[in-house]
Amino acid sequence: MGLDFSVIPKYLDIVLLGALWTIAITVGAAVVSFFGGILLAVIALYAPAVVRWPFRVFSFLFLGTPLLLQLFLIYFGLVQIGVDVPAFVAGVIGLGLHFAVYNSELFQASILAVDKGQIEAARTLGLSRMQALRKVVVPQAVRDVIPPIGNNMIALLKDSALVSVIGVSELTLSAQRAIGSTYRPFEFYVLVAAIYYIINLGMEAVLRRVERRIQASK
């Protein structure tokens, strides 16, 4: 069977609506992963062992298993113990926490890479450890790590496709729906790939601008 892209227009609105969901999930999860990552990094580096260890186990659970399983457990598992999170929220949290763990590794490295002299300078001025961390170390660490964090955000966009397992009608699921009606997998997957690619290019452009802004202060 040859290619026939004429089937697309009829389903374009479904697919585009899916794209909106994808963007919404990506943005939500990106925010969770960013601040979650900072929090996890600070805990990993500075919290007392009793706090650190549970978080380490938690991190390893997220690093060591496929996202698919994690989403499933958050959505279908939490409700068994009485916590009913809506699918969209579960997707944002699952995806966000998954990448928060990745981001935390980056933040940890970049926090450690901030010159020791910086903390010392802050401490000699009389700032407490927490104050020095908040005002001096973390802002620098964040700034230095924006490019790789940005890459994680872009990876997050692509992994948002997995949120379809818990029934969120994002881009990939919308395409499957259209394919389910037309049996034209190739055409729709190419379309979807193109849409992901465009969103991706948009994110890269934003990232480049942010990087340039940061470079200006360096």
Partner: protein
Amino acid sequence: MSEQKPFIDIRHAKKSFGTLEVLKDINLQVDRGQIVAIIGPSGSGKSTLLRAINDLDPLTGGEIWLEDKQINMDLPHGQYERHINKVRQEIGMVFQHFNLFPHLKVRENVTLAPKMLKGLSDAEANALAEEQLTKVGMIERIDYYPSQLSGGQKQRVAIARALAMKPKVMLFDEATSALDPELVEEVNLVMKQLAEEHMTMIIVTHEMGFAESVCDRVLFMDQGVVVEEGPPEVIFRNPKSERTQNFLRKHLAGQHA
């Protein structure tokens, strides 16, 4: 040592890193308004001593007093933190590598601590920053980032940042040795100005000329002990100890070669 009670009083200071003894029973008294230079070869413990004064490298033995407060106290963690943060506000420190906060503009570098720790309003803090930056001749660069400044300019901002906390003492750890030779003078000028205002200062330096011209007293340290101390004329022109003589000879050779 002209008054009764010294302003800074270091008694039997000892410091080891593991088995390495870096400070071995150091005693040093500094009066209010006095300016003391510390010289000595690399690794002799100069920085360690200076850093001990605000407990950045806590001593393993001995006591350090500032006026009537002991600095290196053994307190429960939370109490110690409150105590040391208070003490450090009274002690300004200037580092070899400036340690300006690169993500903040010059203005914010200076206002950060006063705003956070003394609760100054934006307006008050700004006025303070402008005053201190004017003093070190950096007022025009108030809205620059540190990366846009030369080394000498950075160091002057670092001094302004420390001064903004209105410290009672200023500590300088080789404040000019990371600078290009042409930029050294501008920083030295600021330090001389502080000297004229009778700021109490302890200055670790490799610049004998500068030390001679501003300091009341010079300490020569080697391998964790104070080998010799006295007025600059004596230490530089007429040192008693052979170690001091050797050091000065080598040092001047390296500098002028």
